[in-house]
Structure formats: structure tokens, C-alpha cells
């Protein structure tokens, strides 16, 4: 194993995460700016809007995600594996594509809105129902984020010890098992999962931006990119604080725990076809509705114009370079992520649950726009420095580091779980055989971690491919990604073209997952099922 010193391991996280956050803090108070600016009533209103939107989105996500997580975690039912796989998909679809898909139904010219208008019912998804309450954006955010509630709940139930579940069933039947074992386990992860959804909703940019919801992150983006970087940095502070508070509430949800091992998994309770139907409802809301909206608009337009699938060809011809840019950034970010995450993951696996691990994990709650702002501010300082300044002006490194910073906690987490799953004496045995550290890394650690590296690479590529918020701030001129292109096209391109591009971009985002699934299923077939 290649040994990395404590400081080497933390070098890239410091560059990707700590330096940008520090740069925001320094820039915010430069030139005599005062925190009193934040006491402006308009800013105060934006902050309340932000917190209320995040709270409502969290509520919706819990209402939709908790029953789904409970169903797939505690029950066996037909098509369960499909439902589990489908439950991941909303996380892989970018927020702006979710929004565009939903707008085909409930936007100003959406099918449902039009039908309601014909019945004399005025409906505006963008409007606040009462002050500070914006159900439309909150619903769309919830439909994109509810898997973050469902999956930890399902995972917590999967980890229930078989014997404790069986003991409860013997003592008082299925009802007793549900109330005494399953429900407490599911509830235990709920606060952490809800805190994560809250933080991500509070920092989300695409949904409120497309729906004109007046929230702090939108003002921050506008101020930073159009008016004053310093004022933008100042506006970032409340977001930073709210994200930090939410991160501190993450507690110990199951996605932060290590592999327990040893205890046999609880046997799932029997659930009939009706449970399949019930579990498919949130999946349809999270994936089916927006995708159907996009496909429907495409079909509608092609019927109207008689162009068939010409929209696909048209947008592909126009945006092929953007797909290439996205792939380039994602590939570079993926490489940086794996290299940076490996030593940290090893360190965290050796001592799980330490303060540094908790700190890094909490950074997942950091609004991505903040990371973009901080990255620009930090690298701006290097403008005059030979060589490094060139890297800033070239810009390629900014987007790669911003993407790496954003997804580092996730990739570290995946690799850490992989390391925890390994038998530590396997590497010690290689050491005792006399293998050098390089040979141990090449011949033992790397092959043993191959499948985990595949998962980490897939996660890194997918997340980077569908990322918008930080890329929007950091991409180099003339190298916009397909996600940026979609975001910019919404306002001027034809609906069919935008829909076609959204579908292509979604397929691109799912591509690494499909490739990984094909490779791993092929390997399983080759090696057969082990004992």
C-alpha cells in the first residue's frame, strides 16, 4: 500500500474545500464590508424564504420517502429489486431536468395547468400560497431528493439483526416486530436523512432559479456573477451557517456507518402485489412524471410538426461538443476524486467515526454554489502567480477541483466502506510474505478493492456528469457542459429541443451506471456465485 502522510492525505481536500471556504470568509469582509449588510430586510426575507422552502421540501421528501424506504427495507414483494434500483434514479437526474419535466405538466403552459384553466381554476406553480410558503418548488425539490430519505431508511432496516427481528416476531407476531424492531431502526436514521435533505434543498440553485423563487442562493448567484464578488461572498455567509447547522444535525444516519458484518440480515416480512403498487407511486413521481413530461412534449411537437425524432438529431448536432466537455470534466474529476479519496478512506477505515471523518462527511451539506463561489475567489488570488495563475485563467482546473470538492465526501464514503469490508489480515499477510508497499498496492489492495473502485468511479462520473450548480460558475469560457447548455436553453430554445436534450443528458448521466452494471454482471457470470 502506498503510505500517505497525514498532511498529504488532506492536501487535496484542503485545496478543494477548505481553501474555497476560507476565501469566501476573507472576501466577505474585505474593503470594509460589514455583516450588518445581512440585516437588510430584503436579505432577511430571502433567508426566511430559503429556510421555509427547505423545510417544506424536507417535509414532502419525508412523507414520500419514509414509507418507500420502509417498504423496500422491511418487506419482500414482487418487483422489489426493480423498485430499489428505480429509487436511486431521481438522484441521478439533475434538478433542472426534474424541473423542466414537471413544468411540462404544471408549468404555465403545462397540460394540467391548461386543463385547470379551461375549468376556470387559476394555478401557478411558481406562486407562494401564503407568505414564505412555495409549495411548487418545494414539491419538485422533494421529488428529486426523497431517495435520500428512502434509501437510508431501507438500509437501516436491512441491517437489523435477523435474530432480534425473529425474537420480536416470536414474542408478539409481525405487529410487535414492526413496532419494537423495524420502526425504531427506521426512525433512528430519519433525523440525519431529513437534515441532509434540508441542507441540500436550502442550497439548491436550479429549481428556484427556473421557477423564479426568491431565495438567498439565487440572489447570491446573481450578485456574485453580475454585481460584486465581495457582496456575493457576504451573502454566502448565512447559507454557510445554515448548511453547517444542518450538517451538525446529520447525527449518525446509516449512510455514515461502516459495514457491520457478522450479524445475519433480517428476513423480510411478506408483502403482496399491493405493496409493489404502493412502492411504485413515489418512484413514478420521482422519475416517471418528469420523464413522461419530457417525452410527451417531444411526441406532441413531433406530431404537430411532422418532424419525427428530428429534435434529437438537431440538438445532438448543436451540443455534441458540450457532451464532450461534460465527459472530459467528469473524467478528470473522477480521477482526482479517486486519487484524493483513497488515502482518506484508508485512514477513516482504520479509525471509523473520527472527528475528521465526520467533518468531511458534513461538507456534503454545503451548497454547491458556495463551493463554486469559493473556488473562484481562492484561485483569483493566484492570478498574478506564474504558472498557477495560468491555471486559474485557463479555468479547466477550477471546474475539476470544484467538482472534486463537491463529491469528495461521497467517494470517500464509498471507498471507506470498501476498506471496512476487507479482511485487514489479507494485506498483513502480503506484508509478511515480503511484498514491498508498491507490490502490495498493485497485487493485493488494488485487486481486492477493484469492485469498490468501480462503484466509486461510477458514482464520481455520474455525479460529475449531471452536476450543474458549481459548473455554472466555474466552467471555462467556450467549454460549457450539456447541463449548462440545457439550463441556458430553457429560456430561448423550443420545448421539443430542450426536452430532447434533457432526455439525452439523462441517458448520458445513467450511462456510467449501465456500463458498471454490465461489467459487474459479466464478472459475476464468469466467476459464478461464491460460497
Amino acid at each position: 500500500m502506498i503510505r500517505s502522510g497525514r498532511w498529504t492525505a488532506w492536501a487535496l481536500p484542503a485545496l478543494c474545500l477548505v481553501a474555497p471556504m476560507t476565501a469566501i470568509g476573507i472576501e466577505a469582509f474585505r474593503e470594509g464590508r460589514s455583516i450588518e449588510t445581512l440585516l437588510d430586510p430584503a436579505i432577511h426575507g430571502l433567508l426566511v424564504n430559503t429556510l421555509a422552502l427547505a423545510a417544506l421540501a424536507t417535509l414532502f421528501a419525508v412523507v414520500v420517502g419514509f414509507p418507500l424506504g420502509f417498504a423496500i427495507g422491511a418487506y419482500a414483494f414482487p418487483l422489489r429489486s426493480f423498485v430499489v434500483a428505480a429509487a436511486f434514479v431521481p438522484l441521478l437526474v439533475p434538478h433542472h431536468i426534474h424541473t423542466i419535466g414537471w413544468m411540462r405538466w404544471i408549468g404555465r403552459q403545462g397540460w394540467i395547468t391548461t386543463r385547470l384553466a379551461e375549468d376556470g381554476i387559476a394555478f401557478d406553480v411558481r406562486a407562494a400560497w401564503i407568505p414564505y410558503v412555495w409549495p411548487g418548488p418545494a414539491w419538485i425539490l422533494a421529488m428529486a431528493l426523497f431517495p435520500l430519505v428512502a434509501l437510508p431508511v431501507a438500509d437501516a432496516l436491512r441491517r437489523i439483526d435477523r435474530e432480534s427481528a425473529a425474537a420480536a416476531r416470536i414474542a408478539g407476531g409481525t405487529r410487535a416486530a414492526l413496532t419494537a424492531v423495524y420502526m425504531p431502526a427506521a426512525k433512528a436514521v430519519l433525523p440525519g436523512a431529513a437534515a441532509l435533505v434540508f441542507a441540500l434543498a436550502a442550497g439548491a440553485y436550479a429549481v428556484p432559479s427556473l421557477l423564479d423563487t426568491p431565495v438567498l442562493v439565487q440572489r447570491l448567484f446573481f450578485t456574485f456573477s453580475q454585481r460584486s464578488q465581495g457582496e456575493g461572498a457576504l451573502l454566502a455567509l448565512p447559507l454557510f451557517v445554515s448548511a453547517a447547522v444542518a450538517a451538525s444535525l446529520l447525527g449518525d444516519p446509516s449512510w455514515r456507518r461502516g459495514t457491520l458484518g457478522g450479524a445475519a440480515r433480517a428476513v423480510r416480512l411478506p408483502g403482496g402485489p399491493w405493496m409493489t403498487c404502493a412502492a411504485l407511486v413515489p418512484v413514478l413521481l420521482g422519475v416517471g412524471v418528469p420523464m413522461a413530461g419530457l417525452i410527451g412534449k417531444l411526441v406532441e411537437e413531433s406530431r404537430r410538426t411532422g418532424e419525427g425524432l428530428a429534435a434529437f438529431q438537431l440538438v445532438w448536432a448543436r451540443t455534441a461538443a458540450s457532451f464532450g466537455n461534460g465527459l472530459l470534466f467528469a473524467t478528470l474529476a473522477g480521477l482526482v476524486l479517486l486519487v484524493a479519496a483513497w488515502p482518506l478512506a484508508r485512514r477513516f477505515a482504520a479509525r471509523p467515526g473520527g472527528a475528521s471523518e465526520r467533518g468531511l462527511t458534513a461538507l456534503i451539506a454545503m451548497p454547491p454554489v458556495l463551493l463554486g463561489v469559493g473556488t473562484i475567489l481562492f484561485w483569483k488570488e493566484t492570478d498574478g502567480v506564474p504558472v498557477i495563475g495560468g491555471l486559474y485563467r485557463d479555468g479547466l482546473i477550477l471546474v475539476v477541483l470544484a467538482l472534486a470538492g463537491r463529491f469528495l465526501p461521497i467517494v470517500v464514503r464509498v471507498l471507506r466502506d470498501g476498506f471496512l469490508g476487507l479482511d485487514p489480515s489479507a494485506e498483513e499477510a502480503a506484508r509478511l510474505a515480503g511484498a514491498s508497499s508498491a507490490k502490495r498496492f498493485r497485487m493485493i489492495s488494488l485487486p481486492m478493492m477493484a469492485s469498490t473502485l468501480g462503484v466509486a468511479w461510477t458514482a464520481a462520473m455520474t455525479l460529475a456528469l449531471v452536476e450543474l450548480d458549481t459548473t455554472l460558475l466555474t466552467y471555462p469560457p467556450g467549454m460549457e457542459t450539456v447541463q449548462v447548455r440545457i439550463f441556458n436553453m430553457v429560456h430561448y430554445a423550443r420545448d421539443a429541443e430542450v426536452s430532447a436534450l434533457c432526455l439525452l443528458a439523462t441517458a448520458l448521466g445513467l450511462l456510467p451506471v449501465v456500463i458498471h452494471a454490465l461489467i459487474t454482471s459479466g464478472e459475476e457470470e464468469r466467476h459464478g456465485h461464491g460460497a
Binding site: 479482511d423 507490490k439 485487486p447 460460497a531
Partner: protein, 345 residues
């Protein structure tokens, strides 16, 4: 026998906790030595310190004249050239049986025909012939243990460390692993240091045994010497189903106890002693003291009864026929029995 493994004042402190406390130990070259003790006694830590997997905080470790560690230097684990059989196997899931052995030899620079010969010899010695292409996840528990052993010995190390080599194996497989170990020791002269919590396995395999507790070696010796003179209450309690009966030693080599006068092995080292009474020392005799049968279990050809005496002491006695629960037996301990002074631990 020449210089074998030597530990002098070896301590291991991790996070402020002393796992090994100034341990002295000698294992003759070509000898078989077992470390026994309860869980947490420090047995595995000692093994790992010898291997260099857990750094020692003080003391020195040497084998066959090579210094593994002392206050000035520490030989890295990969340079100690010893074999290690892990309790959890520590196999490499991506390599097949042959791959395990080939990788180990490759690390030592043994390749080509010499490597092939050694692999074939090791496979034969460990009973793995025909399994060369199988990966660990297709092997049974016993086969995995054999593979762990094969990997440890393919390099023909002079010193082989074994951590619970037969734990969690069925008795037949465990016996075959033990036979394999003894053959390796006999044919190659490999020095074996093994850790076990099973006193019977230790006595069956090892020429010398050390009993550990609380990170210290309490007593070392041959199985027979430890059996006859445990010297320490903790050691005595760990060897066999011994019961410690309080008594007062007399100059003529016996002790007065609530069970009557019991002859002692050797001279007692104090006046207030405890007599180590094992089931084999107890007889049912009309001249004995009354005790009530509390529990009976069939064990290796005899009925082992737990008998509670008037003063509350419970003794074990082996009988040819099962006594009735609650019945009264007249118990006598003729001796000679070992005696120990009150343990300081």
C-alpha cells in the same frame, strides 16, 4: 536445540492501554510452544509483536540471532521472513490457491521450476492437491485454514506463528490440521509459536506452554510441569476443570482442608494455600466427606458430577455410572495435588 525465539521485557502500549507488560519468553529452535490464556490475555498481541504487525513499545525480540526489534532498531514485518497463520485466514479473494503460493514465493524471489516444486510440495503437505485453481470463496472453512497454512509455510520459514489455527473447525478437520503442523515441525524443523484458548490443544501440540493473563506471561513450562505445579491460582484454574480448595499447609507435605487432609505435590510455598483439586484427584469413598450432587454431564466416557460440599465448595468427580441428582456422595481427595498461594492478580 540452538537459539530460537527470544523475547526480553517486551511491552506493547496502544492508546495508553498496556496490552503486553514486560513479557519474557524463550522458544527453542525447532520447538513447538503454545500460548494459552483467556480472551484479552495478550496472546494475539504477542504474536503480532513478534511478526512486526504491532510495534512493541519496549524490550527486544530476536529469532535465530536476528534482531527483530530492540530499542534502537525495528525490522519491518516484510523483512522478518516468518510465516503467519491468521485466525481469520486473511486470504486474498482475487487469487486462487496456486496464486496465493506463487505470490508469496514471488515476493521472496523464488520463481520458475524451483517455485513450482515448492508449490507442489506445499500443496501435498497441506492436503490441497486438486484445489489449485479454486478461489477462497469456493473453499470450505477447513480448506481455507489449510490454504492459510500453505501460504505461511510455502516460503519455508524457520519460524511459524499461528493464531488459533483450529478455532471454529470441526474436531476431525482440527485434528488433521494439528497433524499437518506436527509433520511440518518434524520434517522441516520449523519453530512453531501458536496461540490457542484451548488448553487441551496446547498440551497435545506443544512441547512447552505459557499461560498468559493481563498482558503478562504467568507461567511457562512443559505441559506436565505446569500440570503438576501451576504455581499460580489463575494458571491452575485455566488448566483442566480445577477447583481451588483453601487449606493450611503442614510441614510433612500435606494440607488440612474442609475435605480432610490432602497430600501435596512438593513443598507448599506458604502456610495459607489453595489446593488444586481436579476431577481425576477426587474419589468416592466411605471415609470421605458428604456432598450433594447438583449436576451430571456425560463427558468422554464418564459421568462428570458437580458435587457441592457443606462449606459451599463445588468439586467435580468422574464416575462410571450416573448418580441421581440430589443424592449424597462421600468424597475424598487422597492426593497428591498441586498447591498454589493466593494469586496476586
Amino acid at each position: 536445540m540452538g537459539t530460537g525465539l527470544e523475547l526480553r521485557g517486551v511491552s506493547v502500549v496502544v492508546g495508553g492501554r498496556t496490552l503486553l507488560d514486560a513479557v519474557d519468553l524463550e522458544v527453542a529452535r525447532g520447538g513447538v510452544h503454545a500460548l494459552i490464556g483467556a480472551s484479552g490475555a495478550g496472546k494475539t498481541t504477542l504474536l503480532r509483536a513478534v511478526a512486526g504487525l504491532t510495534p512493541s513499545s519496549a524490550g527486544s525480540i530476536a529469532h535465530a540471532g536476528r534482531i527483530f526489534s530492540d530499542p534502537e532498531e525495528r525490522l519491518p514485518a516484510e523483512a522478518r521472513r516468518l510465516g503467519f497463520v491468521f485466525q481469520g485466514h486473511g486470504l486474498w479473494p482475487h487469487l486462487d490457491v496456486r496464486g496465493h503460493l506463487a505470490f508469496t514465493l514471488d515476493c521472496m524471489g523464488v520463481r520458475g521450476s524451483e517455485g513450482a516444486v515448492r508449490i507442489a510440495r506445499t500443496l501435498a503437505a497441506t492436503g490441497l492437491v486438486g484445489m489449485e485453481s479454486r478461489r477462497p470463496d469456493t473453499l470450505s472453512g477447513g480448506e481455507r485454514q489449510r490454504l492459510g497454512l500453505a501460504r505461511a509455510v510455502v516460503g519455508e520459514p524457520e519460524l511459524l506463528l499461528l493464531d488459533e489455527p483450529t478455532a471454529s473447525l470441526d474436531p476431525i478437520t482440527a485434528a488433521s490440521i494439528r497433524a499437518c503442523l506436527l509433520e511440518l515441525n518434524r520434517e522441516r524443523g520449523t519453530t512453531l509459536l501458536l496461540v490457542t484458548h484451548d488448553q487441551r490443544e496446547a498440551f497435545a501440540l506443544a512441547g512447552t506452554v505459557s499461560v498468559m493473563d493481563g498482558g503478562r506471561v504467568l507461567r511457562s513450562g512443559t505441559p506436565a510441569s505446569l500440570w503438576k505445579a501451576p504455581g499460580d491460582a489463575v494458571v491452575a484454574a485455566f488448566l483442566g476443570s480445577a477447583v481451588l480448595v483453601p487449606g493450611t499447609a503442614s510441614p510433612e507435605g500435606s494440607a488440612e482442608t474442609s475435605l480432610g487432609r490432602i497430600a501435596l505435590h512438593g513443598a507448599a510455598s506458604g502456610t495459607t494455600i489453595r489446593v488444586v483439586v481436579r476431577p481425576s484427584d477426587v474419589v468416592v469413598d466411605d471415609g470421605g466427606v458428604d456432598g450433594v450432587v447438583q449436576h451430571v454431564a456425560f463427558r468422554e466416557g464418564a459421568y462428570r458430577a458437580s458435587v457441592t460440599m457443606r462449606d459451599g465448595i463445588s468439586l467435580f468427580v468422574d464416575l462410571a455410572t450416573a448418580p441421581a441428582l440430589g443424592s449424597v456422595l462421600r468424597i475424598r481427595v487422597p492426593g497428591p495435588c498441586p498447591s498454589v498461594v493466593e494469586s496476586s492478580r
